[in-house]
């Protein structure tokens, strides 16, 4: 395992220390060492909280900052933060107008958030939640409650964070974030596995010459293992899966996000995006804004995800709002 580590059991805490040192202009620490907050949370606005397991940089702490998330709870690698961390993140995010907790659909996160929301309520903090479930490959269309949240969470945070920054009420923020994720679909293709530092070897295999279509952000198996394809074929597969799963039609405007899973050279993400853009354009869908880079990763996995969000006027305004975070700065 060729990695930059001290004690693998401390990696999350050390990473957080380094992160806080490097981004002191954007984020700051809190009383809970597993909770990071934005430096300048505007008073008198709805708080936007998130959280999730580590190993997905920039997610989740990389999306804390002005006009995006106010706080993030930080879990172990691939594991939900504790309920206590979520609770503290709500406390930090709350400016008296309630908190929107926008997170991804994983069993651990669901349990911990649920508990934290209950505890927050006892303290008089109103927390409402939106659970991202954009990963088309993770369950059939008629079981949206089973679908995982993946890179589409970024659009959810963008919409929710922007709505809160623009002065939206808690219900409006929740509605905007919910609409964003409802209009968003994602799919991933995995090319190589990843190794959890404390485990020391990959915990799943992707055979050389094959690819795992629909892989999850923790290496969860996808829909299909098939022979490795060329970039244009991968793009076609991804676009078919994503665009085929509702809401997109000819004439739509969309935001597109192509994220590497960590170790795929960014150069190749542009090769992939070049093909994706042709295919989406070819369907008469207009790309209003696009993001290409390592936005939501899985340690050192190779591969990429495609996320598409259908825009209406509100979502367009929200997506276009400037933000400054470690993961995404938009002027």
């Amino acid at each position: 395992m060729q990695r930059i580590l001290n004690d693998p059991d401390n990696i999350v805490d050390e990473m957080l220390e380094g992160f806080l040192k490097a981004h002191g202009d954007i984020v700051e620490k809190t009383g809970n060492k597993r909770v990071v907050k934005a430096k300048k949370i505007k008073a008198d606005k709805v708080g936007v909280a998130t959280g999730g397991g580590s190993g997905h940089k920039p997610a989740f702490i990389g999306y804390v900052g002005e006009n995006m998330c106010d706080t993030a709870a930080v879990g172990e690698i691939c594991s939900s933060p504790t309920a206590a961390a979520f609770l503290d993140s709500f406390r930090e995010a709350d400016q008296g107008k309630g908190v929107a907790c926008l997170y991804g659909n994983y069993s651990g996160d669901n349990m911990n958030v649920k508990m934290a929301v209950k505890m927050a309520k006892r303290e008089g903090i109103t927390v409402k939640t939106v659970v991202a479930n954009d990963d088309v490959a993770s369950a059939p269309k008629d079981q949206p409650e089973k679908r995982r949240g993946v890179a589409g969470e970024i659009f959810m945070w963008k919409a929710g964070g922007a709505k809160a920054a623009l002065g939206g009420t808690l219900d409006e923020v929740i509605a905007a974030a919910q609409k964003a994720i409802d209009q968003t679909r994602s799919v991933g293709i995995g090319l190589t596995p990843c190794t959890l530092p404390a485990v020391g070897h990959p915990n799943f295999e992707i055979k050389e010459g094959t690819m795992e279509v629909g892989i999850g952000h923790h290496g969860e198996p996808g829909i299909e293992v098939c022979p490795l394809e060329s970039a244009d074929q991968m793009a076609k597969r991804m676009v078919d899966i994503v665009i085929g799963d509702v809401p997109f039609e000819k004439g739509d405007e969309v935001a597109v996000l192509v994220s590497g899973l960590g170790a795929t050279p960014v150069m190749e993400l542009y090769v992939l995006y070049n093909e994706i853009e042709k295919l989406i354009g070819g369907r008469g869908i207009k790309i209003h804004r696009s993001y290409v880079g390592n936005y939501f990763t899985s340690l050192e996995m190779m591969g990429a995800t495609l996320t598409v969000m259908k825009l209406d006027d509100e979502l367009k305004e929200l997506v276009d709002l400037p933000i400054e975070t470690m993961g995404l700065t938009q002027i």
């Binding site: 059991d9 397991g53 879990g75 172990e76 690698i77 691939c78 594991s79 939900s80 933060p81 504790t82 309920a83 206590a84 961390a85 994983y106 069993s107 651990g108 349990m111 911990n112 649920k114 508990m115 993770s138 369950a139 089973k146 679908r147 995982r148 959890l196 404390a198 485990v199 915990n203 799943f204 999850g216 923790h218 290496g219 969860e220 198996p221």
Partner: protein, 209 residues
Amino acid sequence: MGTFYNKDGKSVLQTVVKGIQENKAYLGEVDGLIGDGDHGMNMNKGFSLFETRFKEEEFTFAEGLYELGNILFSEIGGSMGPIYGTILMDAGEAGEDFDAIGTKELAQMLETGLEGLYDIVEAKVGDKTLVDTLAPAVEALKASDGDFKSALQDMKAAAEKGRDATKDMVAKFGRSSRLGERSRGVLDAGATSCCIILTAMADGILEYL
């Protein structure tokens, strides 16, 4: 019949900790097959944290379960924080006032833990989760005629059987539930760790019987 003293619980908890530590890699492998491979690492981290933190402390069996659960719940998180956190804290609380612990008392503690779990998850027996280990283990204790030694052996056997049964199940909850039929054919990680915990607990107690 037979009982052990609640105050002798530290060594039992140590046996449980050792059981998890020794199986860290194995649990990671099991979780890796249809999950994300972190189960062994997180369990090991939480259990080892408990071991170090309470190395110099005195505590009863019930207190130890509670504190272990609390560490999982408030410092480890993941799925195991709420799940084992709830089971162990609730079981510990239920045993707080016991002086001596025998079949009935252990059954009552673990059942309280199981019921606490049912409050937060929807999984039932057959859904390929740790419920498949814990529920029959509790049943075995309750059904046992009273001799603690043989009740513990029954519990171990039931836990093992329950764990093994998860192999042929299709996961309904948790990460692997999205795999549908693809989840069949391998053990459930939580059911496996739960069996390790219960087995070690029984072995630890048997030392005193």
